[in-house]
């Protein structure tokens, strides 16, 4: 199922993302933002930018945290089945990197 991005209700999507983000643990995730666009195949996509806390970014914890956070957002939002969007998850611990509009 692919839905042109213009047909996605972005207000509803933002509300859904905000609600899902609130379920993430504050000691691991500081902020979640997203942009809509196309992936390399031209498929409508949602690109998540996720700012982790320094604690969650530690090398020994990173795989667990990023896998769990992406899994939770995926399960709650069902980006492809509910919105027709391919989800991509990007993580950083740098606030400057996170704020950079071209990061994700």
């Amino acid at each position: 199922m692919q839905v042109p991005i213009g047909l996605v209700n972005q207000t509803q999507l933002k509300d859904a993302v905000d609600a899902a983000a609130k379920t993430l643990q504050a000691r691991e995730v500081r902020h979640v933002r997203f942009t809509l666009g196309s992936d390399a195949s031209g498929e409508p996509s949602i690109f998540f930018g996720i700012l982790l806390t320094p604690e969650a970014s530690q090398d020994l914890r990173l795989a667990d945290v990023t896998g769990r956070v992406a899994g939770l957002l995926f399960d709650q939002l069902q980006p492809y089945n509910r919105w027709g969007l391919q989800p991509y998850f990007n993580f950083t611990s740098s606030p400057a990197h996170f704020r950079n509009p071209s990061w994700i």
């Binding site: 992406a70 492809y80 991509y88 998850f89 993580f91």
Partner: protein, 159 residues
């Protein structure tokens, strides 16, 4: 199997090549290599089902990135039969997601100068590949995993 494992090790070596200030070249190549590690792992397992060992390398050349992405999207978003143990379905979805995401990240790493990588961003992707290796090895003999391998090669139809 060894080649895929070696590629994954190489991805980690590149990721940690400059401990203090990693170069964009090392981070980008680490992500690209992590994708190819998973790509090779799945192709090798799929090809290993071919009974003629001396033609497996030719079969491996038949796999297509785009078809594999489409198959992974289906596996990631499928509703599995309740008889499939939940942990198996969960791991298969995770592997399929890793493949699909890493394929796109590989594209960015190799071609996009606009995307700036930091170590956490790159490390998350390399570790995603590493996790996918572990998860795949624990489910590779399951029917749904084998069906996924078939779907990577063909225009799969249910039923």
């Amino acid at each position: 199997m060894a080649f895929a494992e070696d590629l994954l090790k190489q991805a980690f070596l590149l990721l940690n090549k400059e401990p203090r200030t990693p170069t964009q070249a090392s981070l980008r190549r680490s992500v690209s290599t992590a994708y190819y590690a998973l790509f090779r792992l799945l192709i090798q397992d799929a090809s290993a089902n071919w009974s003629r060992a001396d033609t497996r390398d030719f079969l491996a050349r038949a796999f297509d990135h785009s078809a594999m992405k489409n198959a992974s999207t289906r596996a990631e978003n499928a509703t599995y039969d309740p008889a499939v143990p939940q942990p198996v379905a969960s791991k298969l979805r995770s592997v399929a997601r890793a493949f699909r995401e890493l394929q796109f990240q590989r594209h960015l790493a190799d071609y996009s100068n606009a995307t700036k990588w930091d170590r956490v961003m790159a490390s998350a992707k390399v570790k995603q590949a590493d996790t996918a290796f572990t998860e795949w090895k624990s489910i590779r003999k399951e029917f749904v995993a084998q069906r996924y391998l078939v779907s990577l090669l063909s225009h799969y139809k249910d039923g």
